[in-house]
């Protein structure tokens, strides 16, 4: 009988890295305060004891620099994992990720490869204000050459991260910092989850809720509440937003004829726009109502708790939208 434990998402992420580092000596991690401190979120706690400071490499506060170093290391035989403490600091690595990592393979006519992972956090409601709360993954999805992963459970996090580390392309992996303590079953044996395969987190017939990252948990909670209103909601998690499993999304939309897309990034020009467009096109003749998009409010994320809470999607906003879509 395969063993399955309850792990937190942080533990699942750590275990994925530890296993891959054991499996492949070329894998190493670099970032700020990751060795003895084990990151500010303690996600990497203990790894340095097993793998030493050369493979769990503390860096100066130089996001662009160490991301660039990772690109070069990836091209020349290593498999780096870059730790970007807050996804908000993605702003500092865009050139290295977008003009370098994403394009090296193509520009060289397929000769050089960049097998690296950039891990970063996303998510608000930690009262961390405008520069430490953003979910900027949409930027990366826009860029050919990158793959973008948004796990929503410990199981997915481990399987997807292992796939990311084994992938020969630059992969951007976003973890919602509010989910690190979320628990879930994780098999003890080795497994990976392929990219581009959405997961139906909950089957339903009346409405499809497409949700990413921690919004999957929000969608599941809303789906649960919707039962009381006799609405059967299907919750689908694309897991990788690029590549995107368009087929599964469209099929569910065709089945239920009503769709909500929830993502924690800013609502405008964000992830929900692409997913909604794909569905609106693919299920055009089956939709009973326009696809409803729910993202973060178009404001910098405020510090004050009552303000911040008003900016991000939550169970209530999904619930209300679902009821409205279903005419209740």
């Amino acid at each position: 009988m395969p063993e399955t434990r309850e792990l937190t998402l942080a533990e699942a992420v750590r275990e994925a890295m530890a296993e891959e580092m054991r499996r492949d000596a070329r894998v190493f991690i670099c970032g700020e305060d990751i060795a003895e401190a084990g990151t500010v979120f303690k996600v990497l706690a203990g790894l340095v004891d097993e793998f030493g400071t050369e493979r769990v490499l503390d860096t100066p506060i130089s996001e662009a620099g160490f991301t660039g170093i990772a690109v070069g290391a990836a091209m020349t035989g290593m498999r780096p994992i870059v730790d970007i403490m807050f996804g908000d600091f993605s702003t500092l690595v865009m050139d290295q990720m977008v003009n370098q990592a994403a394009k090296v393979h193509y520009m060289s006519g397929g000769k050089w490869k960049v097998p690296m992972v950039m891990r970063a956090t996303l998510g608000a409601t930690r009262r961390s204000a405008a520069q430490h709360s953003q979910s900027l993954h949409a930027w990366f999805c826009h860029i050919p050459g990158l793959k973008v992963v948004l796990p929503s459970t410990p199981y997915d996090a481990k399987g997807l991260l292992k796939s990311a580390i084994r992938d020969d392309n630059p992969v951007v992996f976003f973890e919602d910092k509010m989910m690190y303590k979320l628990k879930g079953p994780v098999p003890a044996e080795d497994y990976t989850i392929p990219f581009g395969v959405a997961d139906v987190k909950r089957a339903g017939t009346d409405i499809t809720i497409v949700a990413t990252s921690s919004m999957v948990q929000v969608a599941l909670a809303a789906a649960h509440m919707l039962e009381e209103h006799d609405i059967s909601a299907e919750v689908i998690d694309p897991r990788t937003v690029w590549p995107l499993d368009e087929k599964t999304l469209i099929e569910s939309a065709k089945k239920t004829s009503r769709v909500i897309v929830v993502d924690e990034g800013y609502g405008r020009y964000g992830v929900t726009a692409e997913i909604a467009s794909v569905i609106a096109e693919g299920a055009f003749f089956d939709l009973e109502a326009p696809v409803k998009r729910i993202g973060a409010m178009h404001v910098p994320i405020p510090f004050s708790p009552p303000l911040e809470d008003a900016t991000v999607p939550n169970e209530q906003s999904v619930l209300q939208a679902a009821k409205a879509l279903c005419g209740r």
Partner: protein
Amino acid sequence: MTTAVDRPKTQSEVEAQQWLHMYRRMVMIRLFEEQVNDLYTRALMPGLAHLYIGEEAVAVGVCEALEPNDYITSTHRGHGHCLAKGATLDKMFAELLGKEAGYCKGKGGSMHIADPDTGNLGANAIVGGSAGIATGAALSAKRLKTGQVAVCFFGDGALGQGLLYEVMNMASLWKLPVIYVCENNLYNEYTHNSETAAGDMLTRATAFGLHALSVEGQDVRAVYQTAKAVVDRTRSGAGPAFLLCNTYRFMGHHVGDINREYYRSKQEEQMWKTQRDPIKLLSDWMMSQNLADRARFDQIQSEVKSEVEKAVQFAIAAPYPAPDKVDQDVYA
């Protein structure tokens, strides 16, 4: 006050007044931060709090050398800079608690205090992120011929950010009135800077043609005097400067950073706290020079204490912003 009104003050009396003023400011920062610690521990304060305790002499010494309309930019560890530049306790606390009465109407919080009235361009939660802003303010001052200078406060960790070198280069090329004040407290979060900064810190500035000095950052008199000279020089048009202040944070990186032994020893902390406390160093020196007695310091301490308490009560009682204010101030 014991000074007779009609007798002109002697040089040393004037000096004593100035040191006492700085003493008061340092105490204000210390007690403010202790109160923050308390609020945080009592779960009254949301978010993170990075305390400035131990580093008070840097902010106070530098800001005392500035004019009220001079500019500063600050950091995640910014309460001290804001207070030293003239922020009031009540609006500071209110902001930290996310209240409408705060400096930023609760929208900024601990890491984003900003205040045009005191020339505070804003604290910044991106390490090194304000280096461009301070340099740009200096460009304005030069173009608009206002005579202002701009001070950019940042930690030793910000030496890792390339932006700093880009803007120091331009400040030097264009002879901008900006002073880069590096608060070297030895650590970037939980990592000693011997692991993050190669070479020599001062040379990183002289390489770009800046006037660069280092100063004992626990001695407010040294900081003030050096800063004064540097500010005067910069204001007179001699170009940008870099001031390396050697200091130490007595507490954790943030309030939650309790067990610190894996990255620094208790002895090290103890040494700084007992032998290098900027507040004690100043009062000891003043007493040794007969510039003030213990009672004077006690009095200041208790005055400030009650100011701080009043301010914190104000902030606790103040209302949160109405949720519908959330989408105001996005665009001007």
